[in-house]
């Protein structure tokens, strides 16, 4: 039982989300039952408007479900207040966005250490971790640059570093390769897969990039707000 709970990182049960768009109800998610286990390298795939982003928003506590429940490491998200959800995201979830979304007024180092700052980690340790991760993503020496002073691929690597530096259990990546050329995208995915293999960190992508689908070990296909297909690649 304990083992099972340790393994199940996210569990959703009959998850539904209805938006109101100009007064017209729109069903973005229509009853999703999903379990994401620790250490997975999974991709939620589907066309635009299929509900991928909404699903990620709900399982990370950024949005509320209209119906159904989400458990994160056994904790029911609907029972948690806004501040507790912030703590959960800060300590357990790393985000990678399509448009990098680094804070432009902060340097590379300051962007990466931001979450550690929220966690109250000492300056020395923050600096040490930033240097280590910059070395891993091959951006050592870029710590004092502002985001706009580096390329898009480098910015996305910094975004990956920001998501991983606080050593969360789960990384949620929304179309992380959408703005990158295929070579940079592949290199980034390789880097994330390596981290998944070495640290056991769970990665969940939202994507329709075939390269991401190719690298993922589990594919969850969503269509019209429902899981249409699930596929686990054998032998990976």
């Amino acid at each position: 039982m304990v083992d099972s709970q340790d393994k199940e990182l996210i569990v959703t049960e009959n998850l539904k989300k209805v938006y109101s768009s100009d007064g017209v109800p729109v069903e973005a998610v229509r009853g999703i039952d999903l379990t994401i286990n620790s250490g997975e390298f999974s991709a939620i795939v589907g066309p635009s408007g299929s509900g991928k982003t909404t699903l990620l928003n709900i399982i990370s506590g950024l949005d509320n479900a209209t119906e159904g429940e989400v458990w994160f490491k056994g904790r029911k998200l609907s029972d948690m207040r806004s501040s507790a959800l912030s703590d959960l995201r800060r300590d357990h979830i790393g985000f990678i966005f399509q448009a990098y979304n680094l804070i432009p007024v902060l340097t590379v180092e300051e962007n990466i250490e931001y979450i550690m700052l929220l966690q109250g980690i000492s300056k020395e340790e923050r600096h040490q971790r930033v240097i280590e991760i910059l070395k891993e993503i091959d951006l050592k020496g870029f710590e004092d640059r502002k985001p706009l002073q580096i390329s898009g691929g480098q910015q996305q690597r910094v975004a990956v570093a920001r998501a991983m530096v606080s050593r969360p259990s789960l990384i949620l990546a929304d179309e992380p390769t959408a703005n990158l050329d295929s070579k940079t995208g592949e290199s980034l995915l390789d880097m994330m897969r390596k981290m998944n293999e070495t640290t056991g960190m769970t990665f969940v992508f939202s994507t329709h990039d075939p390269m991401v689908m190719d690298k993922a070990r589990r594919l969850i296909t969503i269509k019209d707000g429902r899981i249409a297909e699930e596929k686990i690649k054998e032998g990976e």
Partner: protein, 404 residues
């Protein structure tokens, strides 16, 4: 804090425009305050230095009735006391009452004032306002000094003869004396220039049948503000034996009311300026907020608590306040300093019964550069609370609707 400060300079032009607008508000506040202090000082100086003095002693009821019989009690004793009074720089005795002056051309009712020229020169500015003749040079008892307007009415010039008619104390009998115009003054105060006439005090006492009695003692303090200080024991000390000592605020209550109105004006100006400042801040912060909505969503997504965002916006408001205060202090100081040296010409304008006689010099005080910036800072923080609450309450998913 670092993030808030840097965010301020993200859109330099907007921050500079907003900072300048708020800074101009602060500078205006500093200048208006300095101007009003200068205006009050000028009014007080104009009112007290021209003739009234900082305070006066009369017999009880004299000021209200102007009865010629109501003379100051125990004047001989008072003279000694006044000479020894440390707080009193100068004092001058006066005899004053209504009279009639006539020339070959016309007749006019006047306020006849008997003065001791040697003492009076420290209390009033008649001698400094002479445009012709002298202020009682030599010992001629027939000298009379009149205002320019009265001289015009009577169609008299220096050396011309006039006759003054007054009612005597006790009997009410009319008494007449002839004088020669020895001085003509112009103080630019209509009531004085058209109706105030000066003769020697001994002659006035004789004319009014007062013996050695007087109606008024005008007092000059080292600072006119003593005249409004009710805590001085001088008021009680000289309000004895049927006399009453009063400061200029009691003698000219309309001026006191005007000064209070000035204070109210300062509050009103402050309120309007703070209102403008508040709207400027709220507008700037909201513009910045909406521009960075997605970024706030990201900050919330990575674990920033609602309170953290609230603090960030309040710090941004504080940073904007610091920038604005810097600009406002420089503008305020330059504007106020320059005008305090050059002066503003309000001469000849009458307000609340007082005519401005000197250039108006705004008065710089250290408190203006501490209190008002502090208020702007506090006000800016308060104004920043509304957008801060808005930011703290935003739904991160909605804020990031474009992506995750």
């Amino acid at each position: 804090m670092k993030l808030a400060w840097r965010n301020l300079f993200r859109n330099k032009r907007r921050s500079f425009i907003a900072g300048t607008a708020i800074g101009i508000g602060l500078a205006s506040l500093i200048f208006v305050d300095a101007l009003i202090i200068g205006m009050k000082n000028n009014m007080i100086r104009s009112a007290t230095a021209s003739f009234m003095g900082d305070a006066q002693i009369h017999a009880e009821g004299f000021r209200q009735t102007q009865e010629v019989d109501k003379t100051i009690h125990k004047f001989a004793e008072l003279k000694t006391q006044l000479d020894e009074e440390g707080i009193i720089q100068h004092w001058a005795p006066r005899v004053t009452n209504l009279a009639m002056i006539s020339s070959a051309a016309d007749v006019s009712s006047i306020n006849l004032v008997g003065v001791n020229p040697d003492q009076e020169k420290y209390l009033s500015q008649v001698n400094q306002s002479l445009i012709q003749g002298d202020f009682f040079k030599g010992n001629n008892e027939r000298d009379i000094v009149v205002g320019q307007e009265l001289a015009d009415t009577l169609d008299v010039e220096l050396g011309d003869r006039v006759v003054v008619t007054a009612a005597q104390a006790g009997t009410g009998d009319l008494s007449q004396e002839m004088f020669w115009i020895s001085g003509i003054f112009r103080m630019h105060i209509k009531e004085i220039d058209s109706a105030m006439v000066f003769i020697r005090i001994t002659v006035a006492q004789e004319l009014f049948g007062l013996g050695d009695k007087i109606h008024e003692i005008a007092l000059r303090f080292p600072d006119p503000s003593y005249g409004q200080n009710q805590q001085l024991n001088l008021w009680d000390k000289y309000s004895q034996y049927g006399n009453v000592a009063e400061g200029w605020t009691d003698i000219m209550p309309q001026m006191k009311a005007a000064l209070d109105l000035f204070d109210f004006s300062t509050y009103l100006v402050a309120l309007i300026l703070f209102g403008v400042v508040a709207l400027g801040i709220i507008n700037t912060l909201f513009m910045s907020l909406h521009e960075r909505m997605f970024e706030f969503g990201v900050l919330r997504a990575v674990g920033t608590k609602p309170l953290g965002l609230f603090r960030l916006i309040v710090f941004e408001a504080g940073s904007l306040a610091i920038l604005s205060i810097g600009i406002g202090l420089i503008l305020g100081f330059v504007l106020t300093y320059v005008t305090s040296k050059v002066g503003i010409n309000y001469t000849g304008i009458e307000f609340a019964g007082v005519t401005f006689r000197d250039l108006l010099y705004p008065v710089i005080k250290v408190s203006q550069f501490i209190e008002y910036p502090l208020w702007v800072f506090i006000f800016t923080i308060i104004a920043g609370i509304y957008p801060a609450v808005h930011a703290a309450r935003m739904n991160p998913a909605k804020a990031m609707r474009r992506s995750l």
